[in-house]
């Protein structure tokens, strides 16, 4: 299997603000790849460079095997992008949006019309297809936006924070659509700040923090990095007051419990659970922060 994305030593700055500080990333073809990071980590900048919307300052960026600056047209023919802001035309109807984009993707008028009808029903927009997009709800706009990305088959689909601002139901239905894409053999690259989303959807995750990839792997691998089992200490109200990570062995759990027994009241209750993506994320970004603090001190 080839590489969908290959990035080496990628730098990007806006004025004096360095957004991407030497990113390296390889993503194999197929499946869902999640780029997980907080606001301002550089996710959108990164996706825009991959999609050819922004130029990198330095570094090698190859998408579907093509160089994003040298082989722009080939890259455009290999990708589609659904951005953070629903990129749909408010003044046109849903069907008109899809037909126009069909034509702009090289379909004949008849093909564009047929494809628009298909997508409208596939994304459950039949009742709204003839209405102006300006009247759509947030969830409907996102569905139309995603449909706009799928008019012609592209091997790589970028989704920049596809579910931001959606209610739970719309989010679930979008997740189903995303999984359906992956099952057709399309490589889906999505960014998200929701750990749950990455955990649920992605086969592989890269954690981006302050312009660098701080960790990558399968959700299970990332969780394994911070330990196997987590001990939660509960307070009198039954809320988690403290968490301790262990490597899952009896010795490690016993050690942590002995330590707790000395500090916590004797009738305190504990619970054992698998680590969540939240634990992983906090552990990874905290260690990245303390590393950069150390670097700062050395300098």
């Amino acid at each position: 299997m080839g590489l969908a994305i290959e990035v080496k030593g990628l730098y990007k700055r806006y004025g004096s603000h360095e957004v991407l500080k030497g990113m390296d990333l390889s993503v194999a073809e197929g499946g869902v790849f999640a780029l997980l990071g907080p606001n301002g980590a550089g996710k959108t900048t990164f996706i825009h460079i991959l999609a050819g919307l922004l130029r990198a300052d330095r570094g090698i960026v190859r998408v579907a095997g093509y160089d994003v600056t040298m082989e722009k047209l080939r890259v455009k023919m290999s990708i589609s992008l659904t951005g953070q802001f629903a990129a749909v035309d408010d003044m046109l109807t849903g069907t008109e949006n899809l037909r126009m984009l069909g034509r702009l993707n090289g379909l004949s008028a008849a093909q564009a019309a047929a494809r628009a009808t298909e997508l409208i029903s596939q994304f459950d927009l039949e009742a709204a297809g003839g209405k102006r997009v300006g009247t759509y709800s947030g969830g409907m706009r996102r569905r139309l936006d995603l449909a706009s990305s799928l008019i012609v088959p592209r091997p790589i689909v970028f989704l920049d924070e596809p579910t931001t601002g959606l209610d739970t139901r719309s989010r679930r239905s979008l997740w189903d659509s995303i999984q359906a894409l992956a099952s057709q053999g399309i490589t889906v690259i999505l960014t998200t700040q929701y750990l749950e989303e990455a955990d649920q959807l992605a086969d592989r995750i890269a954690v981006i923090h302050e312009g660098r990839i701080v960790a990558s792997g399968t959700p299970a691998e990332l969780k394994a990095r911070i330990g196997e089992e987590v001990i939660e200490l509960l307070n009198e109200e039954g809320e988690v007051s403290h968490t301790l990570t262990t490597d899952g062995t009896i010795t490690s759990i016993q050690d942590q419990l002995l330590m707790l027994a000395q500090q916590a009241p004797p009738n305190a209750r504990v619970r054992l659970r698998s680590p969540s993506m939240d634990d992983v994320f906090l552990a990874l970004t905290e260690s990245a922060d303390s590393n950069s603090n150390k670097e700062a001190k050395r300098a």
Binding site: Y14, H48, A51, G52, L53, L54, R55, L73, K76, M77, I79, S80, L81, G83, Q84, F85, A86, A87, V88, D89, D90, M91, L92, E96, M100, L101, G102, R103, L104, N105, G106, L107, Q111, R115, R132, S148, L150, I151, V152, P153, R154, P155, Q184, G185, I186
Partner: protein, 262 residues
């Protein structure tokens, strides 16, 4: 892959432009308020100048003939100014990112806006001329003179629309675009549109006689009402082409610079 039946390819240059033109025309038709303003305002101004100020400016009672060419240009200015807002909205909205990831020259988006503006303005010009005929405008022109006048008007609309498109790209937001664009709308007042320039103070005469609007107005005036157009016509064509070429180059440069960063 989903349906190999829908194989994507690069659309032709013609298709790309046609799609963007259709899109912009749909926008214009659905933006009823803007459309009405672009027609009603110049007609109101014409009535205002003919019936309220006209008597004081030209006591012979023939002012309507003098003012119509200026009103036509004023109308074109108003009508084109919404291009700045349309372009700025497209740049701010995420849709520009979608267009830029398609296998097309997304710059054709601009041709769409400009073509729609041209059609919109020719319609508005037609309505203004009809209204003028109703209030006593008496042109003396044969078919060729009418066509020549239409040609000059179209060239002026194109030039000013491209300029507004560039303003739309410079402005950070649709509101700012509307504000910047407003400044240009004052140019017709500082020309021979409403009063002969020799009635102005001498320093203003210099400005009024040498700005692009005056030769365009004088050309239309002589084509529609009789009189020699030759020298004015060359200046009018020269100015319009200069603005047109300059604005297109400026637009292209701005587009390539601007579209990448929102």
């Amino acid at each position: 892959m989903t349906k190999p039946a829908y194989e994507g390819k690069q659309p032709s240059f013609f298709t790309t432009n046609a799609e963007f033109i259709v899109r912009s025309i749909r926008h214009s038709l659905r933006n009823v308020e803007t459309m009405i303003m672009a027609i009603v305002l110049p007609v109101m101004l014409m009535l205002l100048f003919t019936y309220v100020f006209g008597g004081a400016i030209d006591t012979s009672g023939n002012y309507v003939n003098y003012v119509v060419p200026g009103i036509i240009l004023l109308c074109a200015g108003f009508g084109s100014s919404s291009t700045a807002v349309d372009v700025a909205s497209d740049m701010k909205n995420g849709i520009i990112d979608r267009f830029r990831t398609l296998p097309i020259h997304s710059w054709c988006l601009m041709t769409g806006h400009v073509t729609a503006s041209l059609l919109r303005n020719l319609l508005a010009t037609g309505i203004v001329i009809l209204a003028a005929l109703l209030v006593g405008f008496t042109p003396h022109a044969d078919v060729w003179e009418w066509l020549a006048a239409l040609g000059i008007i179209s060239l002026f609309i194109l030039a000013i629309t491209w300029l507004y498109a560039a303003i739309g790209l410079v402005a950070g937001s649709p509101a700012a675009a509307s504000g910047y664009g407003f400044a240009l709308l004052f140019l017709p007042y500082l020309s021979s549109a409403f009063v002969a320039t020799d009635t102005m103070p001498s320093w203003l005469q210099g400005v009024a006689e040498h700005q692009p609007i005056t030769p365009v107005i004088e050309t239309i005036r002589s084509l529609l009402l009789g009189g020699a157009a030759d020298e004015h016509a060359w200046f009018a064509i020269g100015w319009c082409l200069l603005i047109l070429i300059g604005a297109v180059i400026w637009c292209t440069w701005l587009y390539n610079r601007r579209a990448g960063r929102r």
